[in-house]
């Protein structure tokens, strides 16, 4: 399989002087296109920082990060914003939906913000994704009126809206009950299998990690397994 992204010798340091904290200490990782990998590790091991850097929301202190052949360390904010919109999807632990918008409006956001308006095609794609997530009856519901599991499924649909090559999920089931968590994971696995979307899922849950074909263990700022 071809490599979708490759990071090497990644360092990330916060603060300076006595308050300096080195979170990543020369981490290297390669993800192949179509992989479904779990990112494991104790709290403070650098999982979230790694996901943030991979998601182009933060730059490393040093190191190399390439995705789809693009050097993402050298790119400026505008280029990273555009790249993120087109190629990376996010699923957060606390769904992070826009509260004043409906489920469908949340899902189509990544496309609408790029095209400057909500096109009929985008709305059709968003509706199709919500149906796939089992939310056909909640399409036009205000996002604040959805249950926790429903919100997280809307968040997954939003992450897939622009057909990104990579979806980064930070504890996507951490805030859900067991049934809802399994539903969300089954959906992710189905999309990975059917569409070849690459997933990197940060989790503390061994059971969730077991649903992934690869486990990446991070400890002390390095990939340890």
């Amino acid at each position: 399989m071809t490599a979708l992204l490759e990071v090497s010798d990644l360092y990330k340091t916060f603060g300076s002087g006595e308050a300096e904290t080195r979170v990543l200490r020369g981490l290297s990782l390669t993800l192949a296109a179509g992989e479904m990998a779990a990112l494991l590790g104790p709290s403070g091991s650098g999982k979230s920082t790694l996901l943030t850097i991979l998601g182009t929301l933060m730059k490393p202190t040093s190191g190399r990060y390439e995705m789809l052949g693009r050097d993402l360390v050298a790119a400026d904010d505008r280029a990273l914003t555009e790249f993120r919109n087109l190629h990376i999807g996010f699923v957060f632990q606390f769904h992070n939906l826009l509260p004043d918008f409906t489920a469908l409006e949340n899902v189509v956001f990544p496309t609408a913000v790029r095209e400057g308006r909500e096109t009929a095609e985008a709305r059709a794609r968003g509706r199709e994704l919500l149906v796939r997530m089992g939310l056909e009856a909640r399409v036009d519901f205000p996002s604040t009126k959805l249950s926790g599991g429903q919100k997280q499924r809307v968040a997954v649909a939003r992450a897939l809206m622009n057909r990104p090559e990579l979806v980064l999920a930070d504890e996507p089931t951490g805030n859900l009950d067991r049934d809802s968590a399994m539903q969300v994971m089954e959906l992710i696995a189905e999309i990975n299998r059917d569409e070849g979307t690459t997933f990197l899922i940060s989790t503390h849950d061994e059971k969730i990690a077991g649903l992934c074909r690869r486990q990446v263990v991070v400890g002390d700022g390095l990939v340890t397994g």
């Binding site: 943030t52 998601g55 929301l57 933060m58 904010d77 505008r78 914003t81 555009e82 993120r84 919109n85 087109l86 996010f90 957060f92 992070n96 939906l97 826009l98 509260p99 004043d100 918008f101 956001f109 990544p110 609408a112 913000v113 790029r114 095209e115 400057g116 308006r117 909500e118 939003r158 622009n162």
Partner: protein, 401 residues
């Protein structure tokens, strides 16, 4: 950027009470702006109409001849013949100029006149008067004599004279009675009182008299020409430019009313400046109000801004959302405030129907369009700082909140 507009609108409609309060605050500022514009503008118009509304806006007077002098062959001045006290200079070609001046844009009426001093005698009573000879049919061209008549008519027929109420009372004159008018040159005639006016101006009512132009020619021995031409304009404020135009057209010394009215102009300027200050304060209040409300909104929506940024919204998009919010608040507040201002001004009498004891508001001078435009611009400027703050939100920090 339709999508940014949609998000801005959604943010405003999501917090209806907050938005309504904000719009109301802006509207009050606009209301004050409009109210002050109508008051200051109305007051200025009122003062002008009461002070210079009934006088000539542009006056042409014949230039006095230089005094005759006698110079010796060596250049020494031997004698100077002093100018007489009574104005002798005349505009001999007035009949030629009048139609030309009437054709100048902005000129409403032209009144060729003969003016001079005289004595009004009735029995043993004598009053010194200022005599103005008016062309029959143009009696109300400058001073609205027709509007001020309290008895009789303003029509100046042959042998007719018009007096002010105070003068008529002083001489115990009634309509139809006769009176003797003698010019300063000693020519006298007996005239019939055809009308009594009350202008409210003490000088005119107590010592001004009006006669027909033919009568004035006899009294002041001017078989042709006039001593001055008075011109009324549709726009008082255009007097300077119109006077220049008439000067260029006729070569005559046309003088606008503003010459010699410096104190009045200074007073009006000071009044206008006061108005600008008050209106500026209203605008500053609007800008501060919008800026603080949007800053609060930016702070409250930091997590959402972080999410948008994570989903691929650029900084420009975020700025546009918040600037659009500011513009919408300004537009809504501007329209609402302008409507409130208009409705509040409706009960006030028009400038022409002004009554003592009320404010001389001029509903037409509310500057509605200007108020709305400045408010929208002010609100947009006010939203730039919050919008830039929003665009600088770090998505990682914001989402982690």
């Amino acid at each position: 950027m339709l999508y940014a507009l949609k998000i801005a609108t959604r943010y405003l409609t999501a917090s209806k009470a907050q938005t309504a309060l904000l719009v109301l605050g802006v509207a009050v500022g606009v209301f004050i702006f409009i109210f002050m514009s109508a008051l200051i503008g109305g007051l200025a118009e009122f003062i002008l109409s009461r002070t210079v509304g009934d006088i000539s806006h542009v006056t042409i007077e014949a230039e006095d001849r230089d005094p005759d002098i006698l110079i010796a062959p060596g250049g020494a001045l031997l004698a100077v013949i002093e100018r007489g006290r009574t104005r002798q200079a005349t505009l001999a070609e007035a009949a030629t100029w009048v139609p030309l001046i009437e054709a100048v844009p902005g000129v409403v009426a032209v009144s060729p006149q003969i003016g001079g001093a005289g004595f009004l005698t009735r029995g043993a009573q004598v009053a010194q008067v200022s005599v103005t000879g008016l062309e029959p049919g143009r009696e109300s061209a400058i001073l609205n004599l027709g509007g001020y008549m309290v008895e009789g008519s303003e029509r100046l027929g042959s042998g007719t004279i018009l007096l002010g109420r105070r003068l008529a009372d002083d001489l115990s004159l009634r309509l139809g009675q006769t009176v003797r008018l003698q010019s300063s040159g000693g020519v006298a005639t007996v005239l019939t009182l055809g009308g009594i006016y009350d202008t409210g101006n003490g000088m005119i009512d107590a010592s001004g008299v009006f006669v027909g132009l033919p009568t004035a020619r006899t009294l002041f021995a001017l078989p042709q020409g006039v001593t001055r031409i008075e011109i009324r304009l549709s726009d008082l404020n255009a007097a300077d430019t119109t006077a220049l135009r008439i000067r260029a057209l006729t070569g005559l010394d046309a003088v606008p009313w503003t010459d010699g009215a410096e104190q009045l102009m200074e007073a009006l300027d000071a009044q206008a400046q006061t108005g600008y200050f008050l209106k500026s304060f209203a605008l500053i209040t609007i800008v501060i109000g919008v800026a603080s409300a949007l800053l609060l909104s930016t702070y409250r929506r930091r997590p959402e801004i972080g999410i948008m940024r994570a989903m691929g919204a650029g900084r420009g998009f975020v700025i546009f959302v918040f600037v659009t919010q500011g513009a919408l608040i300004g537009l809504l507040g501007g329209l609402f405030g302008a409507a409130m201002g208009y409705l509040a001004l409706l009960p006030f009498p028009s400038r022409d129907a002004f009554e003592p004891g009320t404010l001389p508001m001029d509903i037409t001078q509310g500057s509605y369009g200007l108020a709305i435009t400045l408010t929208v611009i002010g609100a947009i400027l006010a939203s730039i700082l919050p919008a830039r703050a929003a665009a600088r939100v770090d998505p990682v920090t914001a989402i982690g909140q």
